[in-house]
């Protein structure tokens, strides 16, 4: 067994008992990255002759998505427009990692440009590949982080989740991914996609590692007015012991046309397993589910068009070389050349829905429906401890398959989006494999700040199954 194959908590134990040093972990990981990276392409800036050894930090390394600011270190959201951008400050989560003695890996993980996508194909560096089948996408937008953890190219990773960007790639790559409650983890230093939906969260090899990483990154931050000042429990204390009597809701609106039969079978199997472990399951209804995708693509693109306005070539990042006669021309050529097609599409959509005369019909309406979606969940959570669904309607799809059909791509997030709109926490854990050998993820949702419930259910399920122990052959 190589060190890179171990989980963080296994490595901590070995370091504590002086069996190994963090340096050994690091060199083992470097070796693995060199070996697997050419096939996976999780770390785009490791390409041009850079070596993983250069990316070393103190302690067990954590791999960071390219949209989380690390001081003096390229943070480009995998977009041409942020080429060469080195933030002058660390995101709060990075400060917390460093303060708790963790290492921060210098080379950031691949992602869809500005987190716009569900496949990591929208990266200006090209796609990351799914370690289970390199013809397939790793999911997105945190595809680099998920693929790195899955391929043992990372011990732990951070992603960000605006509509499923942690959970869906975790599901596609067979790893654990948690989207925390909105306000649980500081967004300071996360380059915003949609401010009212974004959360940073862990992507890990198992549930215990996920709880450990959450212990470090969670908590109120005075620099983020949307972070919530609620005490952070020790999440590792909620790992088990059992789920006897736990009330699970199964939303009928999630088991509909479009859900892959094979995936449905595996999810039903997982639900039965939870029942066997003592949980009580009942069908519930989330009646406004069908509006989640349109509502999301209005709110998220509106906020994105605003958040992306600052990328104009004036202060930082990319500026078009074409000689401009005035500032407007400079803006146009910089943004024209700097943004990829999906970023442009979302900019246009968002600008449109906020425009004079359309605002009420789209944005305002979407906000109202968002409230309805939220209250659907409140009703269910007044009677149930958690809701269990598939993370994604299908296993990982093939690279290129959905690039020409944005609508089909958007539907990849159909099961994950509502959670962001309602600000809830949700976790995706491995729960089986398709016949073609691709991992399938089980999504568990809970009410705000009930991450402990998620850890309990996920851990008990994980302990009773072996899915997390199966590794891709790469």
């Amino acid at each position: 067994m190589e060190l890179y194959q171990l989980t963080a908590h296994q490595l901590f134990d070995k370091i504590k008992s002086k069996e190994i040093t963090p340096e050994q972990v690091y060199s083992s990981l470097s070796k693995r990255i060199k070996e697997a990276e050419p096939k996976v392409k999780a770390y785009p800036r490791l390409d041009g002759g850079s070596s993983p050894e250069e990316g070393k930090g103190a302690g067990i390394p954590v791999s960071i998505k390219d949209n989380i600011c690390t001081k003096g270190n390229n943070t480009e959201c995998c977009s041409r427009i942020l080429k060469g951008f080195k933030p002058p400050y660390d995101a709060t989560v990075i400060t917390r990692l460093k303060e708790s003695g963790m290492g921060v890996f210098k080379y950031k993980t691949n992602m869809d440009e500005f987190a716009f996508g569900s496949s990591t194909e929208n990266s200006c560096f090209g796609p990351t590949r799914n370690p289970w089948n390199t013809e397939c996408v790793p999911g997105g937008s945190s595809g680099g982080s998920a693929a790195a953890v899955s391929a043992d190219e990372a011990i732990l990773a951070l992603g960000s989740d605006t509509g499923g960007s942690i959970r869906q790639p975790a599901s596609f790559c067979g790893v654990v991914g948690l989207k925390p409650t909105y306000g649980r983890v500081s967004r300071y230093g996360l380059i915003a996609f949609a401010s009212s939906l974004d959360q940073i969260g862990p992507i890990t090899k198992d549930v215990r590692d996920c709880a450990l990483l959450m212990n470090i990154i969670s908590g109120y931050d005075a620099n983020d007015s949307t972070s919530v000042d609620t005490p952070v429990p020790d999440y590792t204390k909620s790992l088990g012991p059992d789920i006897k009597g736990l009330r699970i809701g199964i939303p009928r609106e999630y088991f509909i046309e479009g859900l892959d039969k094979e995936v449905e079978g595996i999810i039903r199997g997982a639900i039965n397993k939870l029942k066997a472990l003592g949980a009580v399951e009942k069908e519930v209804s989330l009646p406004h589910t069908e509006y989640a995708v349109p509502v999301y693509y209005i709110i998220a693109t509106a906020e994105a068009s605003s958040n992306l306005a600052r990328f104009d070539g004036v202060q930082y990042g990319f500026r078009a070389e074409k000689k401009a006669r005035n500032i407007i021309e400079m803006y146009k050529s910089t943004r024209g050349e700097g943004f990829g097609p999906e970023a442009k599409r979302r900019n246009l959509l968002g600008t449109f829905v906020l425009s004079h005369g359309y605002y009420d019909a789209y944005y305002l309406r979407a906000l109202k429906v968002r409230t309805l979606i939220k209250s659907d969940f409140e009703k269910v959570f007044s009677e149930f401890d958690c809701i269990v669904t598939p993370t994604s309607p299908t296993p990982a799809f093939r690279i290129g398959e959905r690039m020409e059909d944005p609508l089909k791509m958007y539907l990849s997030d159909i099961y994950t989006i509502s959670v962001n709109l309602a600000g809830l926490p949700a976790i995706s854990i491995p729960c089986g494999f398709s016949k073609s050998g691709l991992p399938i993820g089980l999504q568990i949702m809970a009410k705000p700040f009930a991450e402990e419930t998620l850890f309990k259910v996920a851990y008990v399920y994980e302990q009773a199954t072996d899915w997390h122990k199966i590794k891709p052959k790469i």
Partner: protein
């Protein structure tokens, strides 16, 4: 055709908080460009705004002083436009739920009170500054993120003079609250104006133009006066007024088109997701309300009532809070309120303005000041004119008035025995004037008094001299 002018004013006010609206950077004015900046006010990716509580308190204070209703629920919005001095390419502002609404401000005009409605008061952040060179334009972001208040009036203002009065009264209130430097030259107070004209008696508003780039209250008045005339001429010539934004050109003393309605921007306002809406509790509002000092208008009325001052005098004394406090201390203790007011407004203000300071900065104690007035007015120890010289000396040396009079031998001579000699001499030397007086020319007497004053080197009490001369000449 008789026209009526309709004006609404938008005032942008920089709040003098120590730090910026959404970060901890200093708001100090006039430092090296881009030395008071951080990732937040530079709009760097990933940075987030955190609202400055002090700025909110100041904003509430202004809203209350302008008799507005502070809204319980308020939020920030993003206002989008691309400009290099705006690092995020949106400004954090307030759109449909401003901090406060429906207030008013009373102005005095030729002895009449007029109430100008305040539509809204809202919070926002300032942009940076562009410095244009020949080949390049430079951006200074020291000012970016400084907290601003926008105070919007109703179109209740009907003349450029009223606009001027509104601004003066507003500035005076703001200075009382000590929330802003209110310095138009430094840009801590800026004013845009909306103006239209309509036929007298017509209810609907005419097409308005928006005026910008006025950097003094006088410029606002001049620009409005120009625009009234321009619009009047356009209408008289049968033309329509086009809705547009016009710039005031202070050199040419005229307004010029900046952009037309077709070029009007769509700001795509939407709620700022980085700053949750906030609830302003009554307790907070009440606490701020308790901290609001007596404002100029109330003070003016009280000064008029308590000290028997004219409205004119009272308004001068209360124009700034420091001066009002300084004046009131002296008025309260003085015997003759009217003469204390005259000395404050006259000689003391004279000293202040020639030294370029406020009267409140003049370090003459209340006791000394009142003693001087006493010496001049009731004891008549020195003349009014000498009194002013003594005051100047008091300002320069800090000595009490009696000492200065003694040292400089300035006391007035009222002793008839002492003055006898000078009077006899003057009568002898000015036979012609004596004749004139006797012939009934009253002016001649004043001339003779003047001559005695001259002989006494100004120390003779003119009233005594006059009486003596009258007596002497009518008996001769």
């Amino acid at each position: 055709m008789e026209y009526e002018t309709v004006i609404g004013l938008e005032v942008h006010l920089q709040l003098n908080t120590r730090t910026k609206a959404f970060c901890g950077c200093s708001t100090e004015f006039g430092n090296e460009p881009n030395t008071q900046v951080c990732p937040v006010c530079l709009g760097f990716p990933g940075s987030l705004p955190v609202y400055n509580k002090q700025a909110l308190d100041y904003a509430i204070k202004v809203a209350l002083a302008l008799n507005c209703r502070v809204q319980e629920f308020t939020k920030f919005d993003r206002k989008h436009y691309y400009y290099p001095d705006l690092p995020k390419n949106y400004q954090i502002s307030q759109y449909d739920l401003p901090l406060a609404r429906k207030g008013f401000l009373d102005i005095y005009l030729e002895g009449n009170n007029k109430r100008i409605g305040i539509t809204r008061v809202h919070m926002e952040e300032d942009a940076g500054k562009l410095i244009h060179r020949q080949e390049t334009s430079l951006v200074d972001l020291n000012r970016a993120g400084v907290p601003l208040l926008e105070i919007v009036s109703e179109p209740d203002i009907n003349s450029p003079q009223e606009a001027y009065e509104y601004l003066t009264s507003l500035k005076s209130i703001l200075e009382y609250l000590d929330v802003s430097d209110c310095d138009m030259e430094k840009g801590s107070l800026r004013c845009d104006a909306n103006i239209s004209i309509r036929e007298k008696g017509v209810v609907t508003l005419g097409t308005k133009t928006e005026l910008k780039n006025m950097n003094s209250f006088k410029a606002v008045k001049d620009a409005l006066a120009f625009e009234v005339e321009r619009q009047r001429k356009e209408l008289a010539a049968g033309n329509k007024i086009s809705q547009e934004t016009r710039l005031w050109d202070p050199k040419e003393q005229k307004t010029i088109t900046m952009r037309t309605k077709e070029e009007a921007k769509d700001y795509r306002y939407f709620p700022e997701p980085d700053l949750p809406p906030f609830i302003i509790k009554d307790e907070r509002v009440n606490e701020i309300l308790r901290g609001i000092p007596e404002l100029p208008k109330t003070k003016t009325l009280r000064f008029m009532k308590e000290y028997g001052l004219s409205e004119y005098d009272a308004k001068i004394l209360v124009a700034t809070k420091n001066n009002a406090d300084y004046s009131e201390e002296r008025l309260r203790q003085g015997k003759n309120k009217k003469s204390v007011a005259n000395w404050l407004i006259g000689p003391l203000s004279g000293i202040a303005s020639s030294n370029n300071i406020e009267i409140s900065e003049i370090k003459i104690s209340t006791g000394d000041f009142l003693e001087l007035i006493e010496l001049v007015e009731s004891k008549q120890l020195i003349s009014n004119l000498r009194g002013k010289e003594v005051l100047a000396e008091m300002f320069a040396t800090g000595k009490p008035p009696a000492l200065i009079i003694q040292e400089k031998n300035l006391a007035q001579i009222s002793d008839e025995g002492v003055l006898e000699k000078e009077i006899e001499e003057v009568i002898e030397e000015n036979a012609k004037s004596v004749e004139d007086f006797k012939a009934g020319k009253a002016n001649a007497l004043m001339f003779l008094v003047g001559q005695v004053m001259k002989k006494s080197k100004g120390k003779a009490n003119p009233k005594v001299v006059q009486e003596m001369l009258k007596g002497r000449l009518s008996h001769a």
